[in-house]
């Protein structure tokens, strides 16, 4: 934990950088616990999510993966009874520290949800620029058009919608809607992108597209993905964390490490049982 690198100002201004350098930011969760009311759902979870890697969070339903993910960009506190303990550091800085603006944190740590949720009254183009409008970024017309094309391209949707940018976002297919949501999240240039089961409502082709997108953006954006699909975890991630909540106890990380190791020779027998489909 001591060797957390400081991020320089140049990584705040990302964009279509053609360098091979990794520009995503490091995200560290340190002893994170979470409660809903008096019910403890996570117990002292620590995980490092280094830049340039995709981290997959796996585990059976109700083990706290999604809660953990939502703690990483302060969406957890939207639930009235939610509490938490521990630290989450983005590039070394605790996002829960006093004086940290929650809007700024969420802008830097974007999120894609399980169910595609484009703004239905907005066009495709407006959906992409919605974030920049919401955070008060002033864009000229050409910057706007460039942002739309760049974001949609990164999300692998540009060629499909380039001729109908003014159509309603809600008129797209489910898979396209989800990629639109990814484009919308990428358009505010986040350092980290959290994905909460982004493909669980999608067909295989759309799933493949989303996975391609993850591969393409991972150098610029640190990706953390919750998935129930073991094959997907194996396909997209470099490191993997196995969450488990045994009956009546809060969720913990049983094992975390390189994806290859988790899937082939895990240390804990419970991990082996889970990744081999023996429970969960």
């Amino acid at each position: 934990m001591s060797a957390i690198e400081e991020i320089g100002p140049e990584s705040l201004v990302s964009g279509p950088q053609l360098t091979t350098g990794i520009t995503g930011a490091r995200l560290d969760a340190i002893n994170v616990s979470a409660w809903f009311g008096t019910n403890r759902v996570l117990s002292r979870v620590s995980l490092s999510m280094p830049p340039g890697t995709v981290t997959a969070l796996i585990g059976p339903s109700g083990c706290g993966k999604s809660t953990f993910l939502r703690i990483l960009n302060r969406m957890h506190e939207m639930v009235p009874s939610a509490k938490l303990a521990g630290q989450v550091k983005l590039g070394g800085q605790d996002i829960y520290a006093a004086g940290q603006r929650v809007t700024e944190t969420r802008k830097r740590i974007g999120m894609v949800f399980q169910k595609p949720n484009p703004f239905p009254t907005m066009s495709i183009a407006e959906n992409v620029t919605a974030g920049s409008k919401l955070v008060g970024m002033k864009l000229s017309r050409s910057e706007r058009e460039e942002l739309i094309e760049r974001s949609l391209t990164r999300a692998g949707l540009w060629t499909e919608v380039r001729d109908r940018l003014r159509d309603a976002g809600g008129a797209l297919s489910g898979g396209q809607q989800q990629r639109l949501c990814i484009a919308r999240a990428l358009a505010v240039d986040p350092m980290v992108l959290l994905m909460d089961e982004p493909c669980s409502a999608l067909d295989p082709t759309s799933t493949r597209r989303v996975e391609d997108t993850i591969h393409e953006i991972k150098d610029e954006v640190t990706v953390v993905i919750v998935t129930h699909n073991m094959q997907q975890a194996a396909r997209v991630s470099e490191q993997c964390a196995f969450f488990l909540a045994q009956q009546g106890t809060p969720g913990v990380i049983v094992e975390a490490g390189r994806t290859e190791k988790i899937f082939t020779s895990p240390d804990d027998p419970r991990t082996e049982d889970y990744v081999n489909g023996r429970f969960g």
């Binding site: 169910k115 239905p120 919401l134």
Partner: protein, 337 residues
Amino acid sequence: MVASAEPPNLLDSLDEPISPQATNPWGDRLFHLVVRGIAGVVLVIFGSIGVFLAYQSVPTFRRYGLSFLTQSQWNPELDKVGISSTLLGTVEVALVALVVAFPIALATSLFISEYAPLRIKGLLVALVDLMAAVPSVIYGAWGFFLLMPHATLTSRWISEYFGWIPIFKVNTDPAAAVWAQSRFVNSAFIAGLCVSMMVIPITCSVMRGVFAEAPLGEREASYALGSTKWGMIRTVVLPFGRGGIIGGTMLGLGRALGETIAVLFIISLTFNVNFHILQNGTSTISALIANDFGESTSAQLAALLTAGLVLFLMTLGVNTIAAVFITRSRSGAATEI
């Protein structure tokens, strides 16, 4: 048919369409009949009110023709019967009520649905609903005894600074030593203020209903982009609730058009076409009916019912438009995949 190579008869027998129908248990059918019957009765009663009013209006229209709508005086003794000034007064009172009620209802409903802490939300909802439960005669008394003396000062202020806009003009002597308060009492403006108290709860509860339905997924999407609460409301809640905002407002307008007792308390019935809403003297259809009903001959009664028909059609129209907006709003239709 064109592409078919088979003889048509054979195909027909294969393609014999059937319409499978599950037989409903008798309990289901009975319930269906009862519900349908009750719904039918509501329609019949509603329709019969319209038919009754239309039937009663025939003699009036036969005698006065279209001048019933253009004549401003209501003076059956002189055989002058018309509702143009009354119609204008009705619309003026309703519009004043709406202009006052709309921002208050919008802000209140947004506060209740988005900002109020959970523990006082229920209390606030109950309070607003309670506003609707207060009998309108109470609002009328409140308006006459408490509101009017103060509202005339507001009227005077508005007419002083905005009197150059024709509707805010009041014909008084600006050089008078003592301001002519009597010119400002009993006006459409004050009646509208009072009616707005009755419009607010209806409009507010419709708006609150749709705002609360704004999908969680879209709300979270907005927050996850780094939006503030107000940004989220602008991008998600208000666009989603547009139908409810318009519909609730129209429903409030329907209520305002028909309000009787509170208006009768405040205005002094006069039948001049009066565009100056701050100046005393106006009339509304419902106040006219309530005022003259007791001492009418049968011909006068028929004329009053004709005025009632006009009001009935107006509110029917307004409420129908409101219903269309409310059902057409995206309520319930969250982002679908």
